[in-house]
Amino acid sequence: MTLWQIVIAASIACVVLKLAGYLVPASVLKKPTLARISELVTVALLAALIAVQTLGAGTGVALDARVPAVLVAVVLFALRVPFIVVVIVAALVAAGLRALF
């Protein structure tokens, strides 16, 4: 697969999923299991992406400047600091640590 094929295929999949929501009957939402699984899959994917993005290093796992940066981000989100501010601070923490050590 080329990068363009990946980008186009994933984009079309996401658009089709959005369109599907406008075509299925509203009674689908009455099945709590489906709605619950959908919400939990979102949660699991995001948590897994945090893990891989924070600890992953090639085909292994590494502890580096990303870990304190993400911990700072968790604290700031808990304090209801706006999204964009937290993302910038996390970048600054990691960049600062790498510049120092």
Binding site: L3, V7, L40, Q53
Partner: protein
Amino acid sequence: MPAQLPPEDDAVDDDTAEDAASQEIAARALDRVATREGIAVGVATAAYGVSFGALSVASGLTLWQTAFLSLVMFSGGSQFALIGVLAAGGVAAGPSAIAGAALLGTRNGLYGIRTAPIVGRGWLRRFAAAWITIDESTAVALAQPTPRSSRRGFWVTGLIVFAGWNLTTFVGALIGNTLGDTRSYGLDAAAAAAFVGLLWPRLKRRQALVVAVAAFVVATALTPVLAPGLPVLAAALVAIVVGWSNWAGARSGTPSGTPTRGSGR
């Protein structure tokens, strides 16, 4: 007004007209509230498009591939997931990257079931509505008290986020192209922090918290074992098992599939 009607009917009609006028004033006030909320959410979301654009080119995508994602995929969580897996595994991880982005995109389909009755008639309008059905537009729409202000909130939010997101991710990609080594700017940590921000508002219920911790552990443990992208998909299986059995779940409570507001997508 027919002349044969008695005068008292005239008075009643005046009252009805006044009622209609005051209802229209009240409806317009609600429209303004919906518009204001939509603008606030839209601008906040657009602001972090810069970080997506920069991270996207850092992960190996071109400026135009980044722009294509924002135009067509147009779902921040899916876009971040795609570039995250590609950054770790390259083109070889393509199938996992597509699967991850699509799985995260399924919630937009569920939002669509709720917003479909709100957005108005006509297939072209509904097609456009589906395109901009995301966390933000759905959340603002469902937070409004009347169908009319819901429709206003949906369109204002969706269109502002769409315009702003495309503009700022493009600018971010241009900046990213000039940065060089993105690690020294901490952009990899910024991506992780962005995922934390997307997850945070979804952790209000105990079951979600349990799934998040389990998924984190599973993904970490499998990263040295499986090809890039697959640990993330394996973690999604945790959610399907827990969701199916409703393990650690409450009997009742707020319905699932409700979008979260505030901290981006």
